[in-house]
């Protein structure tokens, strides 16, 4: 029997059974599939059980007692998706956020997300307005901006590697040099910043936490030996949010330098927020001064330049000089 059919038959059998179904009975019902009395048949059944659990169908073994025989069962309460009992605005949050994420075209566990959105209509008594808002969100954000196809592939494979804690082998094209490097990485997590996806993990080559831009991954292979046992345990002190919310000038490139940036009035909240939660703001004559601690001054330079005419690096002097020379080289090429 084909595996997908066997799994569904098994689920149907256990869902319908009034009491736990013994292993012997299961063997009788699936004579071709779980034939024999040996370990092999049991292991095959255990694999099917694990697959069912991955589909959201928990099969449990109950040791018998006076009232019930020993055997396998599916608790109906543990099987059927319950009503989430959320107020309409929280449903709108889930629907809209999920639909927009899916419509981006790049999201980890994208297929799971699509299934989750489908199921959501069963998990709410009246999705109504939230569901139509989600349709609109999908329509609005899904029409262009296709990411490179490989990024989706890496996202999908990394999603799985992260869930199963499997080591990956990367061929990576760094930002700084043209040649590629190869390395093994323990994938800890995926984060999105500025619309692009990044992998963070323990890099075996550098023996440190490193972050990789998915669009710069040339090729990727998940360790396929021992697919069911994890290759690593993430370091307990690791925080993905901390890495993900690091500003570009907070990447660890050099020793910390205190930098000051002048912003022309009126300063918009958006510009202020762009310096991140750790920046300090001070009103000064001629505008507002932002102070940040940079460990990658080049990142700050680029950020300030991108704010265009409205911002200016004050100190350190070397960084100010670098801004001047970048601009003067550009101006030279333009005239």
């Amino acid at each position: 029997m084909q595996k997908d059919q066997r799994l569904l038959d098994l689920a149907a059998l256990l869902l319908k059974a009034a009491e736990p179904v013994s292993w012997r009975e299961i063997q009788e019902q699936f004579p071709e599939d779980y034939a024999g009395s040996g370990e092999a048949a049991i292991r095959k059944f255990e694999r099917d059980k694990a697959d069912l659990l991955e589909l959201g169908i928990p099969v449990r073994y109950a040791a018998g007692d006076e009232d019930l025989p020993a055997g396998y069962l599916i608790d109906k309460d543990e099987f059927y998706l319950p009503d989430l009992k959320l107020p309409p605005e929280d449903l709108a949050l889930l629907y809209v956020a999920g639909s927009a994420a899916l419509a981006q075209g790049t999201f980890p566990y994208a297929r799971d997300l699509a299934h989750a959105l489908n199921k959501l209509s069963f998990a709410a008594s009246a999705p109504g307005a939230a569901e139509s808002a989600a349709r609109a969100a999908r329509q609005l954000s899904g029409d262009e901006g296709q990411p490179p196809p490989t990024v989706n592939r890496w996202l999908e494979e990394l999603s799985r590697a992260i869930a199963h804690k499997k080591r990956v082998h990367l061929v990576y094209r760094g930002a700084e040099r043209p040649e590629t490097t190869e390395r093994d990485v323990d994938p800890y997590g995926l984060f999105q910043k500025g619309g692009a996806w990044f992998l963070t993990g323990w890099c075996q080559l550098r023996q440190a936490i490193r972050t990789f831009h998915l669009a710069r991954i040339v090729s990727l292979a998940v360790n396929s030996a021992t697919p069911r046992s994890p290759d690593f345990a993430p370091r307990p002190d690791f925080s993905l949010a901390e890495v993900a919310t690091r500003e570009s000038w907070e990447f660890r490139v050099h020793a910390p330098v205190r930098c000051r940036v002048r912003l022309d009035p009126p300063v918009s909240g958006e510009v202020l927020a762009s310096f991140g939660p750790r920046a300090r703001m001070r009103d000064e004559a001629g505008g507002m001064v932002v102070e940040v601690e940079a460990t990658n001054a080049e990142g700050l330079l680029r950020h300030v330049l991108s704010l265009s005419g409205g911002a200016e690096i004050l100190t350190p002097r070397a960084l100010r000089e670098r801004a001047r020379s970048v601009l003067s080289a550009l101006a030279g090429g333009l005239s």
């Binding site: 004579p31 998706l81 808002a133 800890y188």
Partner: protein, 343 residues
């Protein structure tokens, strides 16, 4: 009971589809669990929507009509002992509509798997809003009990971005969307660089190129507009209700009604090319022999100028002429600031 009684033996599935081991980059559909997940949704959906058109059902399931019909064939062979006629699933198509005669307890989909719930939770966390903790907790509770620890771990492994606006603003917007209620926004308009007051019928929130937008009908301007969420400073729900946009309106909806004129071309130096072309919204026009590239952006000359400058001297706007002048003027003006004063 023997396998001989099974309906499958009498009406076998189309045979001869040899299952080769999938190559590493095989399309995801190769996994048999994909079909199972689909049918575990398909059956309860068809139960709940009797007579659902084949086309609609296929669209809901994210597959083609042909695949859907194959799924229905496959389901006819699913049943449980003693495999009497009433022990099989029974879904049939009549006049292009799907009916369910026997659902064999598959009347509701299974609980969320941990990765389904974690993906949805990550999306919700990235948008934010007052209800997000409630929503994430409800998702967690809908995962089978012994998978919840895995859900917790997995949710810590995806970070899809920081919420674009204060939770209170988002919470009110989400409530207004769910209740189809008008809102008064205080909005920072980038083009006028000023705070403006708008009355909007909020249709939805949507994401584009890393930014979140509120999309809705602006009453004063009389047309739908996109508002960047990080520029919404305040949001007051009003008593006024509105009708949802129709299907036809929905299909005409665009986040931005007009691209801002002619696309702008930017030349990128070799050192910055990999980085630049990886950015969302950047279209590669051609690669140079030296490893550099020419790219196109559609978001207007101001955006193009900022983007080129953000590459730290490794990019310049080249066309059209007006955009190049805009860029050149900005470079000279900014340079002047650095030459005037000494830091």
């Amino acid at each position: 009971m023997t396998a001989g009684k099974r309906r499958g033996a009498a009406a076998p599935l189309p045979a001869g589809k040899a299952r080769a081991a999938p190559p590493p980059a095989a399309p995801p559909r190769a996994d048999p669990r994909d079909r199972l997940r689909r049918v575990l949704f398909l059956v309860p959906y068809a139960v709940r929507h009797p007579g659902c058109p084949v086309r609609d059902l296929a669209r809901r399931c994210g597959c083609s009509e042909k695949e859907l019909l194959e799924d229905l064939d496959f389901l006819l062979n699913v049943g449980s002992p003693p495999f009497a006629p009433d022990d099989f699933l029974d879904l049939y198509v009549e006049g292009d509509r799907v009916h369910v005669a026997l659902h064999q307890s598959f009347s509701r989909p299974p609980r969320f798997t941990e990765s389904e719930a974690a993906a949805l939770a990550a999306a919700a966390q990235a948008l934010g809003g007052e209800g997000r903790e409630r929503a994430v907790k409800a998702l967690r509770d809908s995962v089978p009990r012994d998978r919840r620890a895995t859900f917790d771990e997995l949710s810590g492994r995806i970070y899809a971005g920081a919420p674009p606006a204060p939770d209170s603003v988002l919470g009110r917007l989400q409530r207004a969307i769910a209740e189809r209620r008008a809102v008064r926004l205080s909005y920072h308009s980038a083009s006028r660089d000023a705070e403006t007051d708008r009355v909007v019928h909020p249709f939805t929130l949507a994401q584009r190129f890393g930014h979140w937008y509120l999309y809705g009908h602006d009453r004063e301007r009389g047309r739908p507009l996109a508002f960047r969420l990080d520029r919404v400073r305040g949001c007051q729900p009003l008593a006024e209700r509105f009708d949802p946009p129709s299907e036809a309106e929905l299909s005409r909806m665009r986040l931005f009604s007009q691209s801002s004129g002619e696309p702008v071309r930017i030349r990128i130096a070799p050192g910055a090319t990999a980085w630049a072309v990886a950015r969302p919204g950047i279209k590669l026009v051609r690669r140079g022999e030296d490893g550099g590239a020419v790219v196109e952006v559609g978001a207007g000359e101001e955006w193009a100028t900022r983007f080129a400058l953000s590459l730290g001297g490794q990019a310049e706007v080249i066309a059209p002429a007006a955009a190049r002048r805009h860029f050149a003027e900005r470079v000279r003006r900014t340079l002047a600031r650095y030459e005037e004063r000494s830091g």
